[in-house]
Symmetry: C2
Subunit: 159 residues, 2 copies
DNA sequence: GATAATTGTTAGCCAAGGCTAAACTGTTTG
DNA sequence: CAAACAGTTTAGCCTTGGCTAACAATTATC
């Protein structure tokens, strides 16, 4: 653990832009992003499976592959993982179901996604752009920010 | 390419929540996220190196490792990659420099980051939360949304 | 009901991005 | 100036999440 940096001025004076955050805080930012990345894909799969079930009555691997633009082999492998994690149940060659826990995750993830999407639209972002941005952003928005976004959206709706 | 889904109602009627987007659009969302992920880390490194140079006069591997909360070995490996990509120049055991291209990327990335961070603060998000969220969000915000965020922030500043 | 088409699985490959341990270089200091 | 220390690199390992190709099962069609 080098504190080499700390020998110098902690908050340099006349630079353009913001100062660097303290090391611990800075590190925490990057760690948060890495953590988000670990769960992100899992959540996306679970969310999509939930959506497919809701809207189509069932979730099949081929549909997931199409919608994710990914090979069926990739989906198959991922489903095995979701199984091990206790998020879905599946019998070979049959369509998928979410466990209790999976349903909870799908629901949370869905809600999160919707808040971000509606927020972006309320901000004035074009629908198809909002969809793309929301998909990427949803896993990186804290609960605090999410609440604020929701409040903002509601205010826009009833001016 | 299965169109199995399309046999059914394309926009189902009375469900709660939004309908599923058409397959092509949906796929595009996920592809965008995967693409962002590929460049994300690279941009983070380059941005951080730029920041270290600006604020401290030099960027050393140990500082990067500390700030990213990652081992030095990981940094070392990454620097080799950045080198191959023509983004940084480095002599063994010496501190790092950004190439022209690297500087351009650092600058763009920095600007993006700042817009998102200032936007979140203008929205009313607490500073340390805003920093964490901004770090994750910055790579998933389209230019369109970025512009809107910037406009919003300026409006808040001068009410 | 046999065969064709679709869907699902398995095996084996690859790159990215982490890690630890060990070797090496450069700098500081007794 | 030699030894100790701090910083850097290399080697080798692991997991994820992609892919293709080959095979297996289910479903559709004649």
């Amino acid at each position: 653990m080098s504190d080499h940096e700390q020998r110098h001025t902690p908050t340099p004076p006349g630079h353009s832009g913001d100062a660097l955050p303290p090391v611990e805080q800075h590190a925490q930012q990057y760690e948060a992003v890495r953590n988000a990345h670990e769960t992100e894909l899992i959540e996306d799969y679970v969310e999509l499976i939930g959506d497919l079930i809701r809207h189509r009555g069932e979730a099949r691997a081929a549909d997931i592959a199409n919608r994710m633009a990914v090979s069926q082999a990739t989906v198959s492998k991922m489903i095995r993982r979701l199984n091990e994690l206790g998020l879905v149940t599946s019998k070979p060659y049959r369509s998928l179901f979410l466990t209790e826990e999976g349903q909870k995750m799908a629901q949370t993830s869905r809600a999160r996604h919707d808040v971000v999407l509606h927020f972006l639209r309320a901000l004035g972002v074009d629908d198809s752009t909002a969809r793309i941005d929301a998909e990427g952003m949803e896993h990186h928005v804290s609960d605090e920010t999410l609440t604020i976004m929701q409040r903002f959206t509601e205010q826009q709706r009833t001016p």
